[in-house]
Amino acid sequence: MKENQQQLDTLLRQFVNEPAAREMAEDIRHMDNLLSSLASHKISQQTLSSVKTRVRQRLAEKHSNPVRWRMRLKLISAAAVILLVAGVAFFITPRQTEISPPSPIVSYTWNDGAESENDPVDSLLTRIEMAAGQLDSVHGQTSSWFEEDNSLTIEIQDAQTLVADTDYWKG
């Protein structure tokens, strides 16, 4: 709502001195009155009717739109459900069908009648055989030791006899 005369005077005095405020207020009032006197605009009844018609058409469109919106909403909901299911399936299915690493024995294969060079069982067996060979050779050495030289056995027996027969350890 426009200011009344007193409000306008008060407002103007906040910005300019009193004579200037009076002059400004007078200018504004004068032009306000002039504009008021020239304000009447005849708007034809035909124009008003055409505006009303357009508004009614727009209202009718607006009323029909909720139906479309409901359909769109259903479609969007359906699409969302499909996406959700697809998403869940994507995250769950790989875990269920995940292939566990095959047992070396099960995957043991033959290639053209010969064992595959890269077969883990092959390499394992080879290593076991190597280890067994090494053990055999070590065992052979130690056996031959004891067979060839009995002095070590005799020394041990002597020491055991000495311990059993004497009390040298008591001081």
């Binding site: 409000q7 004068h30 020239l38 304000a39 708007i43 124009t47 505006v51 508004v55 727009r58 009323h63």
Partner: protein, 177 residues
């Protein structure tokens, strides 16, 4: 119209009642037409903009909350006019050539010589000032409301309107009182 009755009318419009919109058009049609006509100086343009305004209102009225309906309505009307200016003319060119450029194809009714002079004078003001003056007059907005709407200090708005009105009076050759 009493504020209470007007609020009821607005509520009915919000509910989408066509007869309520008819009443609203009867109530504000003339003022809004005057606003557009004074700014555009063209009856056909003013009628188009009036029609567009109320069609827009069908969409927007649901968003109207508390506050001055007039202020809200004329803010939309002002924006509509600015859109019109942007779409049809380059604003700078309009300032220079508006008087000759948009002379109405069909000569509008001229109630009297003074009204014609006002129309001519308004068309020679820059669009911002003429809109400000028309907004104050047709939307019945106070300086404070106008300043708030424009996001500027009230002193600036006061100064612009006062300068605009003085210029308008000079252009209309209206003697000082």
């Amino acid at each position: 119209m009493e504020p209470e009755k007007r609020n009821q009318l607005i509520d009915r419009c919000k509910a989408g009642q066509a007869d309520a919109f008819d009443e609203l058009i009867e109530l504000y049609g003339s003022r809004c037409f005057g606003f557009f006509y004074r700014l555009s100086n063209n009856r056909a343009v003013a009628e188009d903009l009036l029609s567009e305004l109320f069609v827009k209102l069908v969409e927007k009225i649901g968003g109207f909350g508390d506050g001055s309906f007039d202020h809200w309505l004329f803010t939309i009307a002002g924006n509509l006019f600015k859109d019109h200016l942007r779409s049809r003319y380059r604003q700078q060119k309009l300032i220079e050539t508006k008087a000759n450029d948009i002379r109405p194809e069909t000569e509008p009714e001229r109630p009297n010589e003074m009204s014609e002079r006002l129309q001519q004078a308004l068309s020679r003001l820059d669009p911002e000032t003429s809109e400000l003056i028309m907004m104050r007059f047709y939307a019945d907005l106070s300086f404070r409301e106008l300043a708030e709407k424009r996001n500027e200090p009230i002193g600036t708005t006061l100064c612009k309107i006062h300068r605009g009105l003085k210029k308008l009076r000079e252009l209309m050759n209206v003697p000082t009182t």
